[in-house]
Amino acid sequence: MRKLSALALILFAAAALYADGVTVDQILDNFDKTLGIPSIQGSFKVQLISSSGEVREIQARAYQKYVGGSQINRLFIFDFPPSVRGTSLLVHSFFDGRPNTMWIYLPAVRRVRRIALESSGGGYFMGSDFTYADLINNDNAKMSFERLPDERHNGVDSYAIKAEGQSAEVKQERGYAYVVSLYRKDNFFMHVRKYYDFNGELVKIYEVQDYLSLPPYIYPTKISMTNVQTGHRSVLLAEGANVDPIPDDYFTTRYMQNN
């Protein structure tokens, strides 16, 4: 009898948990819609903050454009510090299973090169706590999702979804065992993500601290990434966001070399 009661309690709790009828796919689809800005450009700064409080800064111009339904093109042109000024990174990302394509232009050698930076240097972007995978959309087809109990973070009610690679290879490629993401219930925007290593330990926390609302789109303008294991923190600040259409020729090697 006691066992039956326990089972009934579990089933009831599970039903209550998802009584809102919102599925993982609905949450993810609605989140994707918030990010689907056709074109956006602006400048951004990444502040690298050490555990002692020392701050270094990287500055770049960024351009992003959706191409068709399955491709995003991104261009980053670095302006500061002087050691990387003029370096540019062009990324073509795909959502239909095709691998991302990346090129880098190095002004010192006047050459455009194809690269696989995702795993270079541990995959960290210019020494920050962001990885290239954090900055570039990933293909959800290789991930498994599980809805977790809702959470309240900084006063914001959120859906919680756990995502992990479907294979050891995918997990290795991403660099994490799994992530838990929180999506605001009021607009499905993903505002927190927690990364867990292969020991199940929390590695870092991604948090959107400010965003620009461009209905139906939302664009994060201040993102912090805190490595809880090392005490490092990086803050990405987007400035001067502009949604005017961007010509397709911006996302070419010609533009990289001449701008």
Binding site: L48, S50, R56, E57, F80, P81, P82, S83, R85, H92, R98, P99, T101, W103, A108, V109, R110, R111, V112, R113, R114, I115, A116, E118, S119, S120, G121, G122, Y124, M126, G127, S128, H232, D248, D249, F251, T252, T253, R254, N258
Partner: protein, 436 residues
């Protein structure tokens, strides 16, 4: 002193209007010191350098025209074994880049002096023949002054977003800058007299045609060039023998070559695979002239890989075949030993010591302290007891200043060639860099 004052005045005359009109100004300043640690020679000061590169760029108001101007200004308190006159600042050395750029729809036009890089290989790229090499620096990976920009007209046509058709015309090539004074070939008693031309005026007109495409799966380039080789050949003396009283001055000459080549690159695993191939056709296809460079086929296969523990690595396998190598002809008045001696000296100079050569260059780098500290190691393996090691360490002091140090070490005996371009003397360097 008057000469330096004139050079300074010329530099100021160039820089002043640029400074006023520029939209952007940059400055690279370097101070470095090289010490020789060759076991057989003991310790010696090889070189110190104070180098400035001011850089200006701007746009002509109301037009799409853009311009760029930069200069190389350097003094050398310690000039090494060559003495004070080893490599002084020549007027032609001052101007680094000076060019205009005009985008015109599907075309780009650039006019002036600028560097142009072909191929995907980072080291020993067989397609990278447009710009002359500066053989003076002591490090094989000299970051500031290793290539000499060429005066050229460059027209690029973009039929679509991924492709480029490019035509480059160079009226006068610049010769490689050599590091040696006149050389006595002891086996002959003849002396090689190097030319000090700033431009190769007696063999004008060089053309390059390239098609390139950066695609989703693969990047590739196709190249044809007809050009005056920046590396000189040697006019063989009337008679190659060791007879006393028959000493000649051996002059250098710059000859035309054809180059047919291509390169491709694609993602392979977690890295990038690329290959550059080039066939260089010289006037000495039959190999009969001991003073001229042999035609050659060169392949550079490169893999950029991400190793565990955050180590970025690059492996380059270079293979070259020299056509009709060793087929130099005996002429009346020659003796075989002298002919072979002369041919060997020239082949060593052209890095064509054997009919087939192959070597591997491996590069490893790891960044620490959030990319503030970078450790690198270059290794050259020549399928022989010779091994080249070049460790490097650099530290970013702040956004503008960095410090670096490194060494070039050759294990095994250096080649015994009188005209060898790199003395392969072991050395170390210390460097301070400022960037604005």
């Amino acid at each position: 002193m008057k000469r330096y004052a004139l050079i300074a005045a010329a530099a100021l005359a160039l820089a002043a209007p640029a400074a006023v009109m520029a939209d952007e100004f940059r400055l690279t300043a370097v101070a470095d010191y090289f010490g020789g640690v060759e076991p057989t020679a003991g310790y010696e000061s090889l070189r110190s350098r104070i180098f400035l590169r001011p850089w200006f760029s701007g746009a002509v108001p109301g037009t799409e025209l853009r311009w760029q101007l930069s200069a190389n200004l350097w003094v050398q308190p310690i000039a090494g074994p060559e003495g004070v006159s080893g490599y002084a600042v020549e007027p032609a050395d001052i101007l680094d880049e000076a060019w205009l750029y005009l985008p015109m729809g599907a075309f780009d036009l650039s006019l002036g002096q600028k560097p142009v890089a072909y191929g995907f290989a980072d080291v020993f790229g067989p397609l990278n023949v447009v710009n002359a090499a500066n053989r003076v620096p002591l490090s094989l990976d000299e970051p500031f002054d290793s290539r000499l920009p060429s005066p050229l007209a460059q027209l690029q046509f973009y039929p679509d977003f991924d492709s480029t058709v490019e035509l480059v015309y160079i009226p006068f090539m610049r010769p490689d800058r050599e590091r040696l004074g006149d050389v006595l070939l002891s086996g002959l008693g003849d002396t090689v007299r190097w030319r000090r031309d700033a431009f190769i005026l007696d063999n004008p007109h060089s053309l390059f045609l390239r098609y390139s495409r950066y695609g989703e799966r693969v990047d590739f380039q196709l190249l044809y060039g007809w050009y005056a080789d920046q590396t000189p050949d040697f006019i063989r003396p009337a008679a190659l023998n060791a007879t006393p009283g028959g000493e000649y001055d051996i002059e250098t000459v710059y000859a035309k070559r054809h180059i047919f080549g291509g390169a491709y690159a694609f993602k392979l695993g977690s890295g990038t695979f690329s290959q550059d191939l080039a066939f260089k056709l010289t006037g000495d296809l039959d190999g009969s002239d001991p003073g001229e460079r042999n035609s050659e086929l060169t392949v550079n296969t490169q893999y950029l890989a991400n190793l565990p523990f955050g180590v970025l690595s690059q492996f380059s396998l270079v293979y070259a075949h020299f056509i009709n190598h060793g087929k130099h002809e005996l002429m009346p008045g020659d003796d075989t030993a002298s002919l072979d001696y002369f041919a060997q000296a020239v082949q060593g100079f052209h890095t064509q010591p054997l009919q087939n050569i192959a070597f591997i260059v491996a590069h490893f780098e790891r960044q620490f302290m959030r990319e503030r500290l970078k450790a690198e190691l270059n290794v050259g393996f020549f399928f022989s007891p010779e091994l080249y090691l070049a460790p490097r360490l650099s530290y970013q002091l702040n956004d503008n200043w960095s410090a670096a140090g490194g060494a070039d070490i050759n294990l095994g005996d250096p080649p015994d060639a009188a005209l060898r371009r790199n003395p392969n003397d072991d050395n170390f360097y210390l460097r301070l860099v400022f960037r604005h």
